[in-house]
């Protein structure tokens, strides 16, 4: 018996749905091996994780709250990925967003109370867009490799944030962290830990879906991503669109940072580089860059994080186990994507002889 891959005569719709589901299952199986090696009972562990993520209303609230910045980062990264612009700098753009809102909250005291939050969020978006726009301009004007540029700019943003919360913007008391945002400027909660940022995220999903699939601009981004030279021949400006897409991508990552700090942390402090930007890469990829699918993936990713935290308490396992699983999810997905265009055929001995 032998296996062979045969090209399909078209892209398989069924497979584009089945592959992510199966890769999720396979990644959990792979995770089980890792767990077994670390002397943990996989079933028990997964049980504890599910309980940790969805076991009670409070836990569900935590998971949902965590999925909001994750979803936004996934959406942000997904826009750049559509153009095959490998923005792995959502983390830095997120941190820039937090710096933006913190600046308004701490220093724009001339604002009326009601204006703190909207102005702060807009500033977060602008900071994120600025931070994402730089590698966009570098790429468009001089062809600077975006992977390196966006990756390195993460560390600049994180380093700058450290300088701010350890030093320049440090609250008078304590040894790190900025002054807490005034309470009237917090993003209101709507259900326990779940805050109104969820509206932002869901509205953005709909808007982005519309923009990407129904408008001329979305059509142009699709063309550029799939064949840049052909798009140029059709009169689409590559430079302009790369910069625009990166402004939008960075802006949404910045929004994620602004919302999360306005609703959860209420200041700029250690832990601002939460990894949401990096997890966003996995979310965008798993979702096939589709905004609606991103919602589910973001919740799964959030559940892995909250579930992972629970492991530490209940099973004395490192909470990093959740992150291990997050990472494991991408591998079978990348390997499995071959099946959307190829199918596996089994050549039995008998069949081979006929051949």
């Amino acid at each position: 018996m032998r296996f062979a891959l045969e090209k399909r005569d078209g892209k398989s719709r069924k497979m584009t749905i089945l592959v992510p589901i199966f890769s999720l299952i396979i990644s959990f199986l792979l995770g089980a091996i890792v767990l077994a090696i670390s002397n943990a009972n996989p079933i028990q562990t997964y049980g504890a994780m599910i309980k940790g993520a969805f076991g009670s209303p409070t836990k569900i609230q935590y998971t949902i709250a965590k999925s909001i910045p994750l979803l936004l980062c996934g959406l942000a990264v997904g826009i750049a990925f559509r153009l095959k612009f490998w923005n792995i700098g959502a983390e830095g753009q997120y941190v820039s967003g937090v710096i933006g809102i913190t600046w308004v909250m701490q220093f724009w005291t001339f604002l009326p109370q009601w204006a703190y939050l909207p102005v702060g969020i807009v500033m977060g978006i602008l900071f994120g867009a600025f931070w994402g726009g730089i590698p966009g301009v570098l790429k468009a004007q001089w062809g600077v490799d975006e992977t390196l540029a966006t990756l390195m700019m993460n560390y600049i943003a994180i380093g700058f944030a450290e300088y701010l919360y350890f030093n320049a913007w440090k609250a008078p008391r304590g040894n790190m962290g900025t002054v807490r945002y005034p309470e009237f400027a917090w993003l209101p909660k709507i259900w326990g830990k779940v805050h109104s940022g969820v509206y932002f995220a869901l509205i953005l999903v709909v808007v982005l879906w519309f923009v990407l699939y129904k408008t001329r601009w979305g059509f142009e981004l699709n063309m550029i991503g799939k064949n840049q030279r052909a798009a140029r021949c059709q009169g689409v400006s590559i430079k302009k669109n790369i910069i625009l897409a990166m402004l939008l991508s960075g802006g949404i990552a910045g929004l994620a940072g602004a919302i999360d700090s306005a609703a959860v942390t209420h200041c700029l402090t250690k832990g601002v580089n939460s990894g949401y930007g990096f997890t966003g890469i996995i979310i965008a990829w798993m979702a096939g860059l589709n905004p609606f699918v991103s919602i589910f993936i973001a919740i799964i990713m959030a559940a892995l994080e909250t579930g992972g935290d629970a492991l530490q308490i209940t099973l004395k396992l490192p909470s990093a186990m959740g992150e291990v699983l997050q990472g494991l999810i991408l591998i079978p997905l990348l390997a499995g994507s071959v099946f959307t265009e190829y199918k596996l055929i089994v050549l039995t001995k008998q069949k081979e002889e006929v051949l």
């Binding site: 078209g10 001329r216 059509f219 059709q234 051949l355």
Partner: protein, 513 residues
């Protein structure tokens, strides 16, 4: 040449080969025989099953049924390695070379019996010997990506010779070559035949069949419809008819030559090379009137690509002027040029003409999506796009399962028809077509040419770049010959002589002819 063919056991015998692909019967009970010292021309339209048949001979595909005998022995060919061991090697249309490695490294790449550290100096010596023997000029230390297409093809041939191939399969070997390089290839093949090697070559070009081959076999829709000695063919027309199964119009319908006002004009266009040491476009001037086709003749790589990219805004010119309907369009963006009414059928249809991963419908609407016909402000009217695409698919007879199929799954001819449909539909007066019939079968070529002439008859100005003089003489009203970035001369088709054009293409000045 014929005396070398022997009547011994055929070197290749394929018996009743059948191969299915999803939805397509690619080969249906095909028989093929190749004798020692023979050149067999395998002729057929795009999608007739020629490449499939050859891919089974080299083990890239496996037949669903049928048998293959090499030198009289039943062969079980599962991979190109197997076929190479039997002395069968294939040169594909797309070369299988690693761009950033040297010629020598590419030649030994994938050879299994080499020691861990290959003795490079010995290998290079063997390569040099082989290249001398067959007159294949190749330098073992050169890097592939610095070589011209013709040179890369020589490397591919050397690769096979190095591995001791006795039977060579060439998939449209001259499609990418300049006429000079094609002549060299002829010589190389003759040399190999004289040593008792045999060859099968896949082609669309009738004159090559007549010139090269001993035997011609015609495939049509997966079936072998004719095998005969080449010298028994009286008229080229007969071959063409066999291929498509109907009479081909060799003269195209065209209205009277009735030129209007000047629509597209180039004045002293100059583009410097990246190094700045020479002009890849050298003071090019011409004017095309409405209702006129200006053909651009010349061996590929003499500035035609730069010329068309300069006209369409894809490339910056160093000096000179582009005038469209009298207005200055020098160094404008591609979008501005498109808006002025210029349509462009680019040279490289896969890389520049279509987005392979998008649907036929999307590809058809890639010019008009920004007009009010297909979108409302910036929102695309999806249902209108569908109607629009279906209409074009019907008008231009594009063969596709549906408009939702990704373009990359179509055949070359249908991809070109998709581009043609889009560009002609959106054409606002000027059409620039670059090698529009390259690599297409007879039927598709005819459709392309007829559509270009239709544009002219409608009063549009057409610039047609082609490598085939025959095509230009058939389609164009005037022919400009390019050589090393210059226009050597512009002649009226009715006064043009093939030999004269050939000399201009080779760089002979007008006064010396």
């Amino acid at each position: 040449m014929h005396e070398n063919i022997t009547d011994e056991t055929p070197v290749v015998r394929m018996v009743a080969i059948t191969k299915h692909f999803p939805g397509v019967l690619a080969n249906d009970q095909v028989n093929l025989t190749l004798r020692k010292g023979e050149v067999l021309a395998l002729l057929g339209e795009n999608g007739a099953g020629k490449s499939t048949l050859m891919n089974m001979l080299v083990g890239l595909y496996r037949p669903d049924s049928g048998e293959i005998y090499i030198n009289g022995k039943l062969a079980d060919i599962r991979s190109p390695q197997d076929s190479m061991a039997l002395g069968v090697g294939m040169i594909h249309q797309e070369f299988m070379l690693v761009g950033n490695m040297s010629v020598a490294e590419n030649i030994i790449l994938g050879m299994k019996d080499l020691p861990f550290v290959p003795p490079l100096s010995e290998i290079k010596k063997k390569i040099t010997d082989l290249s001398k023997r067959y007159g294949l000029q190749v330098y073992p230390d050169k890097i592939i990506q610095d070589l011209s297409v013709g040179e890369q093809q020589r490397v591919e041939i050397l690769k096979l010779l190095y591995r001791g191939a006795e039977i060579l399969i060439l998939d449209e070997p001259t499609a990418v070559l300049t006429p000079g390089e094609a002549r060299d290839l002829n010589e190389i093949i003759k040399k190999m035949l004289s040593e008792g090697k045999s060859a099968i070559f896949i082609t669309h070009k009738m004159d090559e069949v007549m010139e090269f081959s001993h035997t011609v076999q015609v495939l049509r829709r997966g079936k072998s419809v004719n095998v005969c000695p080449t010298n028994s063919i009286k008229r080229v027309q007969d071959l063409a008819n066999m291929m498509v199964g109907r009479d081909i119009l060799f003269s195209l319908d065209r209205g009277p030559y009735n030129p209007g006002k000047i629509m597209l004009e180039a004045k002293n266009l100059v583009i410097q090379s990246l190094q700045g040491n020479k002009n890849v476009l050298d003071h090019v001037s011409f004017a095309i009137r409405g209702g006129e086709i200006l053909g651009v003749a010349g061996v590929a790589g003499n500035g035609q690509q730069q010329l068309t990219e300069a006209l369409t805004g894809l490339m910056h010119v160093s000096s000179g002027q582009v005038l469209i309907n009298g207005e200055d369009y020098t160094n404008k963006t591609p979008l501005q040029v498109i808006r002025s009414g210029v349509s462009h059928i680019p040279a490289d249809r896969g890389r520049m003409g279509v987005v392979g991963d998008m649907s036929v419908g999307d590809n058809l609407s890639m010019k008009k999506y920004r007009t009010n016909e297909l979108s409302n402000h910036s929102i695309i009217k999806r249902s209108w796009v569908r109607l629009f695409a279906d209409k074009l698919i019907e008008t231009f007879v594009i063969k596709t399962p549906s408009q939702d199929t990704s373009v990359k799954f179509l055949s070359g001819g249908n991809i070109q028809k998709t581009i043609l449909a889009r560009e002609i539909d959106s054409c606002g007066g000027i059409l620039i077509a670059v090698y529009p019939s390259r690599g297409l079968d007879v039927g598709a070529t005819e459709a392309v040419r007829q559509n270009i002439i239709k544009q002219r008859d409608k009063g549009n100005a057409v610039l047609l770049v082609s490598e085939e003089l025959e095509e230009l003489l058939m389609v164009a009203d005037k022919i400009a010959v390019m050589f090393e970035g210059r226009i050597m001369d512009i002649v009226d088709v009715k006064d043009a002589k093939t030999e004269e054009l050939g000399m201009l293409m080779a760089g002979v000045e007008r006064r010396d002819i």
